[in-house]
Amino acid sequence: MKIKHLLERENVLAGLLLLPVVTYIVLFIGFPFVMSFLYSISNVTIGNPEFKIVGMRNFVDLLEDNTFQQSLVNTFIFTSVSVGLVLILAQVLAELLMREFKGKWLVRFLIMLPWTAPIALGTIGFLWFMDSVFSPFDWLLRTMGLLGKPGALLGASSNLYWLGRPGLAMASVILVHVWRLLPLATVILLAGMNSIPKEIVEAAQVDGAGYFRRLFHINLPLLLPVTAVTVLFSVFFTFTDMTVVWVLTKGGPPPHATQVLASLAFLKSIQGGDLAQGAAVAIFFFPVLAGIAALVLRLAKKSVVT
Amino acid sequence: MASVEFKGLKKYFQDVHAVDGVDIEIKDGEFLVLLGPSGSGKTTLMRLCAGLEKPTEGEIIIDNNVVNDLPPRERGIAMVFQSYALYPHKTVFKNIAFPLIVERLDKREIRKKVEWASGLLGIGHLLDRLPSQISGGEKQRVAIARALVRKPKVLLMDEPLSNLDAKVRNSARVELKKFQKEIGVTTCYVTHDQAEAMGLGDRIAVMHEGRVRQIGIPEEIYHEPADMFVAGFVGVPPMNFIDHDGVVMGFRPEAFLPAELMNDEELMKFRITVERAENLGSYKLVYGAIGEARVIANLSPRYLIRDGEDYDFAVRARDVRYFDKKSGKRIKK
């Protein structure tokens, strides 16, 4: 059979076109993915190339380690609080952006900045914003009399050590996450809201449904898939994030007040040289990721059937 | 110009028998219409002919060659889709010229042929426009011009008139037939509109559930239907069916008239209880019941019919067709 005609055979052509991508993914995602699991049950370090299976020892060590426990808890707290806040705020903002008004393009650009600016660069801005001496936010609070005077609402010291006190540092990390994710969540919700056919809303209005009834019986149910997508992506980006923590606090204030799983994994492996332990930490992502993957699959199946 | 033949053609999609054993011969230069409701397999059959689907079984023969293994571009066919499938990013000229450009003809040749095809269809003045800038009817002509420009052996058309406004549709239909006769290209035309089929086809193949129920000239299909499906599908309003003596009697609404209007030929008389009479301008439709069966009569608007009353209607015996109750097949008495 001529080569030309061979290429006409759908299966052959499809296979050939997919080969590069599938090969690449298997080599650089699939294979390393398996390697992570292997590393986590081994004793590999950067200095020592020897590879020995040590069973669950890394995991046991981790689970008894305070730092790890704190990282695990932090990761969950940061994720849930951030995503929760983002969901609420994004609903409000999306409603606002549904309307037409002058200069909308500029407003959109400004509102999108936290997400469209590269993550490390935006976070750098917050380094200054929350500096322990020069923080503009502190300046504002001092000017308003809420800080820096005896008897002031937020205390007599001239600065709130945003990144220096454990509680505040955690709040700061959450703040940056919310700040970044809000634009993304908003546009996704907005796209969903705009895709609700006008006729359905109008039919409900004609049928006599008031604002709240419409909200609960029409808008929210129809927005469920989009909201689910928003939640999934928000959780994913927060849960696996290392950049915000690393740039802002490097996991501090000491010893590990804002450490998260990702930054801990980095600390242990690249900085500490213990690849096996680092891998073990990262493996804890797996249950949550698998859960997200399952939900994405469910959503995708639903849409194919619709 | 070429003949087309489908031999024992079958196409199964998983467990859906889209085409379930079709044998048709289309003569050179003939205008054959594939008529049927949606899901009858007519479009699948056409796509098999074009090479857009591969048959599960059977042969497709164009110009005496078995083309099963040939890709669309090597079969010598041209096709017009229901949506016209004009290339949105190319001008009308480039659209029509496309098949010739692919063939790598020289620029002057291309220009000559495009001007011929567009002249034939009266769209010469639109050559520089984009598809988004012309009307539906004009788009259709561009699609046809593009199909004809390389003088194909076979022309395939998938419901090309159904996207047109009703008004334009009639005149387009007349022009299309005239046109096909002039050029003489073997044409296979798919439609679900039985009036279109009757008006256009040299022969009509009525399809249902993947099979051909009947193939013949329009008069045959209309007056001598092979089974109840064909009888009920062709003709608007549809044929009346009544259970009688263990068989099904069928007669067309226009053959069903008040008894007093009929001369004394062999008549079958019925008492009809009229539900409603609709005066539609040039004709009147009477909806009623004979016993349990619902019937429709199609008569002149001048005849007075009152809702709710009983009338004596009749059919000429030779206008009645008989069908087997179980199989639906025509019984010839």
């Binding site: 759908e10 052509l13 076109l17 590069p20 991508v21 993914i25 650089f28 995602i29 294979f31 390393p32 992570s36 606002l96 407003v107 999108m112 900045l113 469209t116 600016a117 590269p118 490390a120 660069l121 935006g122 750098i124 801005g125 200054w128 914003f129 020069f134 503009p136 300046w139 000017t143 700040w179 546009v187 996704i188 989009v226 997508v229 994913f236 696996t240 290392m242 690393w246 740039v247 990702a262 994994a265 980095f266 690249i270 680092g278 891998a279 992502f285 797996f286 990721l289 994405v296 995708a300 849409s303 619709t306 | 074009a50 669309p72 041209a78 889709f81 496309f98 692919v102 593009r146 390389r150």
Partner: protein
């Protein structure tokens, strides 16, 4: 009437709050990069305005005494190379999945998209090992090799949805008109997909500009650093932050990316959510 006025002021009021919250950090960055050091480091001075006339001293420092331009060029290089690789890999795959592969195409497409969910913060450990085994440690080429792991899955998915939006009949018409399947792709599908492909290019570039952990793990040599890593590690000498230059550097690199991203945002979001919303 009053309700209307109240609702309108309420609307603009709340909107302004959101705008302020989103944009203030960038505004501060803008002011800071042009503020005189004396003005900048006086804690009692208003940080939101210029108390002393603006200066270009930080910008001079940034561009002449740091490797900022190198960082920018490095990021640009990696960006372009990765975009090229992504397009070469993803376009054929997306076409195959959208058109040819039929039912298992849908499944494989989702599968490829799911690999995006394997995060760099998990893969970086084995990948750093692979990178050093390949001798690419400390080189930008390590990034060029590895970055497609997160651009390709997403971009394949995006491209798949763009290709699917082109009516199948146009492609079939091209095949009847004389093209082979690949010919139809080149002459008809590709030209019609250009908006989608440009969107994917922009999106891939923003993904590259955002990447942090691989660059941090694979590259130590300052001359090979990309913008995110470079700014956070090199503009700190000991305990001293060169704030003016730092803010300027961050803002200057952010704005072009942000602009591009915003312009193409609608398309990206529609490509992303098309699978989950009813159409």
């Amino acid at each position: 009437m009053l309700k209307k006025i109240l609702s309108r002021t309420g609307f603009y009021g709340i909107l302004s709050v959101f705008i302020l919250l989103s944009a203030t950090p960038f505004y501060i960055m803008l002011i800071t990069m042009f503020k005189r050091s004396h003005d900048l480091f006086s804690p009692d001075n208003n940080p939101f305005i210029f108390n002393e006339p603006p200066t270009l001293e930080h910008m001079r420092l940034l561009f002449t005494q740091t490797q900022y331009t190198t960082f920018l060029l490095n990021t640009l290089f990696v960006g372009l190379a990765v975009v090229a690789i992504t397009i070469i890999l993803a376009v054929p795959a997306a076409f195959s999945l959208a058109r040819i592969a039929g039912r298992w195409g849908e499944g494989l497409g989702i599968g490829i998209f799911l690999t995006y969910l394997v995060p760099p913060t998990l893969l970086f450990i084995p990948l750093s090992r692979i990178v050093s085994l390949l001798g690419l440690q400390n080189s930008l080429w390590s990034l060029v090799l590895i970055y497609p792991t997160f651009t390709v899955p997403f971009c394949t998915w995006l491209l798949m949805s763009f290709f699917k939006s082109i009516p199948k009949e146009i492609e079939e018409q091209a095949m009847i008109d004389g093209c082979s399947r690949l010919g139809a792709f080149n002459r008809v599908i590709l030209p019609l997909s250009i908006p989608g492909i440009v969107t994917v290019i922009v999106f891939a570039f923003t993904l590259v500009a955002n990447e942090y952990i691989y660059a941090l793990a694979f590259i130590q040599d300052s001359a090979q650093k990309t913008i995110g890593i470079g700014l956070t590690t090199e503009l700190v000498r000991g305990d001293v932050f060169y704030w003016g230059a730092l803010m300027g550097g961050a803002l200057l690199a952010s704005i072009p990316v942000a602009l591009l991203y915003t312009v193409f945002l609608d398309r990206i979001i529609s490509g992303l959510t098309v699978g989950t919303m009813k159409h």
